[in-house]
């Protein structure tokens, strides 16, 4: 978890590479940002902190540089010397500065107890990998690894750190901890941040070991030393499950150990370094970003989110743009689902932070406050889009839901428009969030109006979008009366998860997905629906199966031998991982937590193999087959199920609701750092407790029941 304590007035100095001296206290985290190296090549940074330690980063674009946290344990004046190393090996010294550290010396942390493997043996094979392995007695969360040169031996110029959670049976790379052309650190310790990575074993491997004095290849250094951290999620499940779950969050939630080309977790990274991401600043992600980021202590991301959301344009009626400065998704189409997502995201964010000033921030162009924009967006849904009738309709002729209409939501390969099931589900969700927001702001009457409309929306949704023949919801109904049912798993699972689907419909949907019920004519049936294992195919009827197709071929054709052929394209027989969050929530709601955990077990088993760093291409070299990495930060919603599903944590008008659903085999589940209303909490749901226990900001609630953490810290039955 990030714990940045930005020093007041220091930010400019940091950005400029610390042009003026700074002061910090011992034990306090200080964030340093080197001057970007510049140049056409990618670089990584190495900062010498002046206290006998150096910290390397991952590589990225040289126009950017990372924010690097540092804690000094003793007082003094320390000279910071940064350098950049290009990926081809050129060393670029950068301007540094000095930091004065005040206060008493603090104790250095104690290394984790570990057994080390024997030092690697010299060999004549230049390409034989050599490793130092350290094994912990149990799975440990590791915050950092320290490496040091052995006297008389060459420090490896290339090495990486790899992790195992199962005692060394399966190893995975740590994308951000791979270095090439590493300069000789001399007598300084190399401190590699690992951000609480769960590990039973760590190894430092060189795939091209250095040449020793005898002309042989030999990896030689002092034994690596690991320092522990804190588990973010804990539960009394199999430790391997707990480790993989935490590492899945680290990969796809915080993305703390991923390569970030812009040194920023909000901007996608290109091949060959694609990985997890924290968020994307577009309106389409406004609610997912709030879900992922609002509970973290990450001031930079908080600032970015809050700046972004007020930069989304809004037209005079209330329709929102898709991203700061534009109404058109990739210059192609408007997304009428944006008002709903905007409302839900802003409401969620506000209810987590409880900062009235946030809602009063003004749009730089129009001067409208955020709360005015939110209310206008709702008015647009209710009036211009007929939402008050219980069924929202997109009247834009470009998004008419026919075989010539344009796409209208995140799933931009499909012509969702007119009466869109996807859009109406988001409307249903936005009514809930708006009601919570208005209640929190003291507008109970408005809130009641929104809540009163929800049953009608639910009724109309199930009437209009249910396909009796296939036993599932269609994607949309076009203005020409056409009904488009391609077995959209995302439409159906998001509808079940939100509760807009009736119980009867929810059960039928899960029976279809689980292969208990075969839909005649579908391209994918039975077990094949989960061909990708970690989530269902996004559609079970090929886009090319019906002519004219509901597929919007603005980026690619579909059909045999094309780039978009079924099973070779993310949106046509491929999958996007985030859908599994709604799959898990659907099962929790419909068939219970143990059924949801069966699905989660499959996902975790797959994660264990390769951390889901999967990016296969189709025969055309296009890697849009599986949607897990790069521009899919919503992958992080899947491990977030620990909070949204198992612990049942969600903000609402009067506080933070905690409504646990522990798997039968578990006695507790906990999150060690959860920020709500400006305070840091640890929250634990445990069986056997009769009443909540509050000890400062450590909260325990009974596993059975529904509880509310109030903004001031009190916990009540809810």
């Amino acid at each position: 978890m990030k714990k940045h304590f930005w020093i007041a007035g220091l930010c400019c100095g940091l950005v400029a590479g610390l042009s003026s001296a700074a002061t910090v206290q011992t034990g306090q985290e200080f964030v340093y940002k080197p001057v970007p190296a510049g140049g056409p090549e990618m670089v990584w940074y190495l900062v010498d902190w002046g206290d006998g330690t150096v910290t390397p980063t991952w590589h990225g674009l040289a126009a950017f540089s990372p924010e690097m946290p540092k804690v000094w344990s003793r007082p003094g004046t320390f000279k910071i010397q940064p350098q950049a190393i290009t990926v081809s090996g050129k060393n670029i010294p950068l301007k540094g500065g000095s930091v004065t550290v005040a206060g008493a010396a603090v104790k250095n942390p104690v290394p984790l107890p570990a057994k080390s493997s024997d030092a690697p043996q010299a060999t004549e094979e230049p390409r034989q990998p050599q490793s130092y392995t350290i094994h912990f007695d149990r799975i440990e969360p590791v915050d950092r690894l320290e490496l040091a040169k052995e006297s008389g031996a060459a420090f490896p110029d290339n090495f990486c750190v790899e992790v195992s959670t199962d005692g060394g049976k399966v190893w995975n790379d740590i994308p951000a901890a791979a270095y090439s052309h590493f300069p000789d650190p001399g007598n300084k310790k190399v401190c590699i941040p690992l951000h609480g990575l769960s590990a039973s074993d760590l190894r430092v491997t060189s795939y091209k070991p250095p040449v020793n004095a005898g002309g042989k290849y030999e990896l030689r250094m002092k034994e690596p030393v690991a320092f522990g951290g804190e588990k973010l999620f804990s539960m009394d499940a199999n430790p391997l499950l707990e480790a993989d779950w935490n590492n899945m969050w680290l990969t796809y939630g915080s993305a703390a150990n991923e390569v970030l080309h812009n040194f920023d977790p909000w901007w996608p990274t290109d091949r060959p370094d694609e990985g997890g991401l924290l968020g994307i600043g577009s309106t389409i992600w406004a609610h997912w970003n709030a879900m992922k980021v609002s509970w973290l202590n990450d001031p930079a991301s908080k600032k970015y989110y809050e700046e972004c959301v007020n930069a989304y344009p809004q037209d005079e009626r209330g329709l929102m743009g898709v991203a700061p400065g534009t109404f058109y998704h990739l210059d192609h189409s408007k997304h009428h689902v944006t008002p709903a997502i905007f409302i839900s995201g802003i409401s969620h964010w506000y209810l987590m932070h409880r900062d009235p000033a946030f809602l009063q921030t003004k749009d730089a162009k129009t001067g409208a406050t955020l709360i005015e924009k939110v209310r206008k967006a709702m008015k647009f849904q209710l009036e211009d889009m007929d939402g008050k009738t219980g069924l929202m309709t997109i009247h834009d002729p470009q998004n008419d839901g026919t075989a010539t209409g344009l796409g209208g939501n995140y799933w931009d390969g499909w012509r969702f428009g007119y009466r869109s099931a996807y859009c109406n589900n988001e409307f249903y969700i936005s009514l809930y969030w708006m009601a919570q927001l208005e209640t929190a702001l003291g507008n109970a009457d408005k809130a009641a109006e929104y809540m009163a409309l929800r049953p009608l929306v639910k009724q109309r949704y199930n009437e209009v979008f249910w396909n009796e023949e296939t036993g599932r919801f269609i994607g949309c109904e076009g203005k020409d009366g056409s009904r488009h049912d391609y077995g959209f798993t995302f439409v159906n699972l998001q509808a079940v998860a939100s509760g807009v689907a009736t119980d009867e419909h929810a059960k039928k949907i899960l029976q279809w997905l689980d292969g208990e019920r075969i839909v005649k004519g579908d391209t994918s049936t039975g077990a094949d629906i989960y061909y990708w294992k970690v989530s269902p195919r996004c559609n079970t009827l090929a886009a090319e199966a019906i002519k004219p197709s509901f597929w919007d071929n603005w980026t690619m054709e579909v059909g045999p031998g094309t780039i978009g052929e079924y099973g070779k394209q993310i949106q046509n027989g491929g999958h996007i991982f985030y859908v599994s969050h709604y799959d898990l929530m659907s099962r929790l709601r419909t068939t219970g937590i143990d059924a949801a955990m069966k699905r989660m077990d499959v996902i975790l088993d797959e994660f264990h193999k390769d951390q889901l760093h999967r990016k296969p291409s189709n025969e055309f070299g296009i890697t849009h087959v599986e949607g897990i990495l790069r521009e899919f930060p919503e992958s992080g919603l899947v491990p977030l199920f620990m909070l949204t599903g198992i612990m049942g944590i969600e903000p609402e008008a009067t506080g933070l609701r905690i409504e646990p659903s522990l798997p039968t085999a578990w006695n507790y589940a906990a999150v060690t750092e959860y920020w709500f209303a400006g305070k840091k909490y640890s929250i634990r749901a445990a069986r056997g407790l009769k009443q909540p226990e509050v000890n400062g900001t450590a909260i325990k609630v009974p596993a059975e029941g529904r509880w509310l953490l109030k903004p001031e810290g009190e916990v009540i039955k809810w």
């Binding site: 050129k90 060999t123 230049p126 790379d173 060959p272 070299g621």
Partner: protein, 195 residues
């Protein structure tokens, strides 16, 4: 006097290098398929190249190899391995390919690199014949590229200022004598080094 001293020093250094064994040149980038990194993170299979996987044998220098399955078709006699690299400055590439197929079923290899200024660097316009039953080492300098193009324009390699590269295409074409269309044919790549 100065000249004599320089000659002496040069000779002494050469002698020292000879005694100690010259340190091997360090590649700017290398991959020997040993790491637990899924290859689809940095390679892509295209056209007649239908699948690829890391194998222990055959190998060179203690590394592992990439086994590639090609199913060439008469209508699609080309398979391509696309190799994505971090944006970097390189001047030379080196790798070897093992061809277990009969000599009468010839396959040729054309390496092409792309730089960030959108130049396409073709290192062998006629393709390199992959010798049957043995390893063919490809060791080419970008300065010797046989053709550098940008759109329809052809430029000299030396005319491109400070190129940095981000993707390599290894194109495998069947020769005129190739007849095994529709059958799986294997080739092995021993790794990749860029300098």
């Amino acid at each position: 006097m100065v000249k004599t001293f320089r000659l002496f020093m040069t000779g002494a250094l050469l002698l020292a290098a000879g005694f100690c064994g010259a340190a091997p040149e360090t590649p700017a980038y290398f991959k020997y398929f040993g790491a637990p990194v899924r290859q689809d993170r940095y390679t892509r299979n295209m056209h007649a190249l239908t699948a690829s996987r890391v194998v222990d044998e055959p190998s060179l220098n203690g590394g592992r190899s990439l086994e590639m399955d090609f199913v060439f078709q008469k209508t699609k006699p080309m398979g391509q391995l696309v190799w994505d690299i971090p944006v970097m400055r390189i001047s030379r590439i080196r790798f070897s390919v093992y061809n277990p197929n009969p000599a009468a079923q010839s396959i040729r290899l054309t390496p092409v690199l792309l730089d960030t200024q959108h130049h396409s660097w073709n290192l062998s316009t006629n393709g390199i014949l992959l010798k049957a039953g043995e390893w063919t080492t490809v060791d080419l300098k970008l300065a010797d590229a046989e053709e550098v193009t940008k759109g329809n324009a052809t430029v000299k390699p030396s005319a491109v200022k400070d190129p940095v590269f981000f993707v390599m295409f290894l194109k495998f074409d069947t020769g005129g004598d190739f007849k095994d269309f529709g059958q799986t044919r294997k080739l092995y790549l021993d790794g990749m080094e860029c300098y």
